[in-house]
């Protein structure tokens, strides 16, 4: 396991993770479709998970990988809830475009 890390170099993993995270953030900010935004959130989460796994290997400590498993399980549950909310919104408004959801106005 450790030699994979050495072959590629830990820096590259970190760059990849940061890139994935930025893609997620930009996707969140630029896309109007709520489903795509949800996917972007998952992308950010995946970036963080990956970083956790990489550091776990780097430090020779398996506990972080356990966290990754937990985090993925929670993410799966969260996506289920998020999609359910989206379905409910679509039934009510007939659209999942973020620009149509303005009822949070203070």
């Amino acid at each position: 396991m450790h030699d994979i890390l050495e072959q590629v170099g830990i820096n590259n993993y970190i760059y990849l993770s940061a890139l994935l995270f930025c893609v997620g953030v930009l996707g969140m900010l630029y896309r109007r479709s709520t489903i795509v935004m949800l996917m972007s959130v998952e992308l950010m989460l995946a970036a963080a998970n990956m970083l956790l796994a990489v550091f776990s290997v780097y430090h020779q400590d398996a506990s972080a990988q356990v966290f990754v498993i937990f985090s993925m399980a929670v993410a799966a549950a969260e996506v289920a809830v998020g999609l359910a909310i989206l379905v409910a919104i679509f039934r009510n408004i007939g659209s999942i475009d973020i620009d149509n959801l303005k009822n949070l106005k203070g």
Binding site: V25, M28, L29, R32, I98, D99, L101, K102, N103, L104, K105, G106
Partner: protein
């Protein structure tokens, strides 16, 4: 048992007050008066029981109710005491109080708010009992304020008359100035002695050898005397008392002549052991007393309102009492308080009877010749006038003579002032008597038709008081036969000076006193009977008489010196300072409101924008953590 009976002393008038306050309107027109009179009579009976007890045993009774104030080493218990001083005060507070309640049944008959009147009277008796039975200064202050409140309520009893309301407010505010002095005095004593309990104070003063008498103690006693000045109407805080005559006449008799105004004398006598330590303050008290006596008497000479004459005579007599107190003769002051309560209550009730007969008229210029229609009122008024003028063998003679003797022995200058005041007193009292009861009637035909002697409920108190005003002097005869002096000796730390039989100068002084009274009588007789002078109408009075008739313009001077500048100050604050304050406070409000307008635009409900700010915020936190 003991405690219960003493508490009943307080509960009776309180119950009378509550009953008349809450259900008085449903009780009709006669029942409220009967309830109130019965309540005070009940208190009187209890007082009488304890009075007899203390005369035989000489043991003061303490009633500890509960611990009231307690912090660090300072304690004030709610404790009542029935000793020689409080019982003698209770005797005439409840006794005369009961008589005046009885009288009020007749006097206030037909008043639409009779239940309210009697509830206030009972409340007054309640607070007066608290004042005199208090065992520390804090409880005394409760009574002190309470009687002031009742005085205010009763002066303004006919509240629909605006002038009466003003008089009530004046009395309250004047007393408030005095109360500030009283409180400051209490705090000062509490600071010096770490206690305000009378017994502990007495112990502290009498047992501590070479007690350090500091200026602070003098300040304390001076402040307490300022309190007494307010309550007992001494210069310069006396102007409320003549105005207080706006209240119904029984109120003037009870509160503004016999009982409440003597509270200042009571308080100083209570604390005689402390006042004895500050001779400078004592001298000040004596001077104020003598000057007040003379000053008020000189105003009284020129008044034409029968109640105003009596009011100024009250101020004058109180001045004499303070003269005695200032000279350390507390027993003499107490004696004069008692005889004064008898004859002044009788005089006021008599004037009430006259006013009742005249249908509300108080101007003596419109009276005259009432002797035949009001024989009982005339007889009692005459006896009381003899008494207040100091003609033997009436009660006033003995007490006034004792004051004269004390003044003569201590300070001849003060004696001259007091003697002049006595001369004037005799003159204006007989002037009032002659103008009211002699010669022909000067009122209108309608009033003449209306004239009648008062009913029995009003004449009975008059007769009883007249009898007391006649024989009251027996409690303290001169030349060492004084029961009162012996009775009071446990209260007075310095003791009562032993009277050494009759001396020649005492006889001389008695002679002078009587002579003075007779001269006053003679001048009045010459003026108003022989020459039948009637005081002139208001606009024809000139010269000194006009100045004195207008009370030396003291009210106007106070108005210019204190009231007007106060209004100016108040207007300054209202028109200028308040506007500036408003501008500042509202300015902040407007500023926040203006700033909020652009911020409100951000909250537009667009989730995309919220996310954008969320990301910016997150990024800036990360940036801060990494780069700063």
């Amino acid at each position: 048992m003991e405690t219960g009976l003493i508490l009943l002393l307080l509960i009776f008038p309180l119950a009378g007050f509550l009953i008349n306050l809450f259900v008085g309107k449903k009780l009709g027109k006669t029942l409220p008066g009967l309830i109130a009179t019965a309540a005070v009579t009940g208190s009187f009976v209890i007082t009488l029981i304890y009075f007899i007890k203390i005369v035989s045993t000489g043991q003061a009774i303490h009633v500890h109710l509960f611990e009231w104030v307690s912090f660090s080493d300072f304690k004030a218990n709610f404790e009542l005491v029935l000793d020689q001083l409080s019982l003698i005060w209770l005797m005439f507070v409840t006794g005369i109080g009961a008589l005046i309640h009885l009288y009020s049944i007749g006097y206030m008959k037909g008043d639409e708010n009779i239940d309210r009147f009697f509830s206030y009277l009972n409340l007054f008796i309640f607070f007066m009992i608290i004042l005199v039975t208090a065992n520390n200064l804090a409880i005394m202050f409760i009574g002190w304020e309470g009687v002031g409140l009742c005085s205010y309520l009763l002066i303004g009893f006919w509240y629909k008359n605006h002038k009466f309301n003003d008089a009530a407010k004046k009395a309250f505010i004047m007393n408030r100035i005095g109360d500030l002095g009283f409180l400051t005095g209490v705090f000062t004593l509490g600071y010096i002695f770490k206690t305000i309990d009378f017994d502990s104070l007495k112990l502290a003063v009498t047992t501590t050898s070479n007690l350090e008498v500091s200026g602070l103690l003098g300040l304390g006693t001076l402040c307490l005397f300022i309190g007494a000045m307010g309550k007992s109407a001494q210069i310069p805080l006396y102007t409320w008392l003549p105005d207080a005559m706006a209240g119904p006449t029984p109120v003037s008799a009870l509160i503004h002549a016999a009982t409440m105004v003597t509270a200042g004398i009571f308080m100083i006598t209570r604390l005689n052991f402390i006042f004895n330590l500050t001779p400078d303050v004592q001298l000040f008290i004596a001077i104020i007393g003598a000057v007040t006596a003379l000053f008020a008497a000189s105003i009284g000479i020129f008044q034409t309102d029968i109640k105003k004459v009596l009011a100024y005579s009250t101020v004058s007599q109180l001045g004499l009492m303070f003269l005695a107190i200032g000279l350390g003769a507390y027993h003499v002051a107490v004696f004069h308080v008692i005889t004064h309560a008898f004859f002044k209550a009788c005089l006021f009730l008599g004037s009430g009877s006259v006013i009742h007969a005249m249908g509300g008229e108080q101007d003596m210029r419109k009276m005259g010749g009432l002797r035949k229609v009001l024989p009982i009122t005339f007889a009692t008024f005459f006896i009381s006038t003899l008494s207040i003028s100091g003609i033997p063998p009436f009660a006033g003679f003995f007490s006034k003579d004792e004051i004269m003797v004390v003044a003569f022995e201590n300070n001849i200058g003060l004696w001259v002032l007091a003697a002049l005041a006595s001369l004037m007193t005799a003159f204006y009292m007989f002037r009032a008597l002659f103008l009211t009861f002699n010669k022909g009637f000067r009122g209108t035909e309608e009033q003449k038709h209306h004239l009648h002697e008062s009913p029995f409920v009003m004449t009975l108190p008059l007769i009883i008081l007249a009898v007391l005003a006649t024989i009251g002097g027996l409690i303290s005869l001169p030349f060492g036969y004084s029961w009162l002096n012996e009775y009071l000796s446990p209260i007075l730390v310095a003791g009562v000076p032993a009277e050494h039989g009759a001396t020649s100068h005492q006889f001389m002084l008695i002679g002078i006193s009587v002579l003075i009274a007779l001269i006053g009588l003679a001048i009045a007789y010459y003026q108003y009977i022989v020459k039948s002078v009637v005081p002139e109408e208001d606009d024809k009075i000139t010269g000194f008489a006009k100045v004195a008739y207008n009370k030396y313009y003291i009210d106007e001077i106070y108005d210019t010196l204190f009231v007007k500048p106060f209004y100016v100050l108040a207007n300054f604050f209202k028109n200028i300072v308040e506007n500036i304050m408003n501008a500042i406070v509202f300015g902040f409000g407007y500023l926040i409101a203006a700033l909020s307008i652009p911020l409100r635009a951000i909250q537009n409900g667009s989730i995309g924008l919220y996310l954008f700010f969320f990301v910016i915020g997150f990024c800036s936190i990360v940036a801060y953590l990494f780069f700063v």
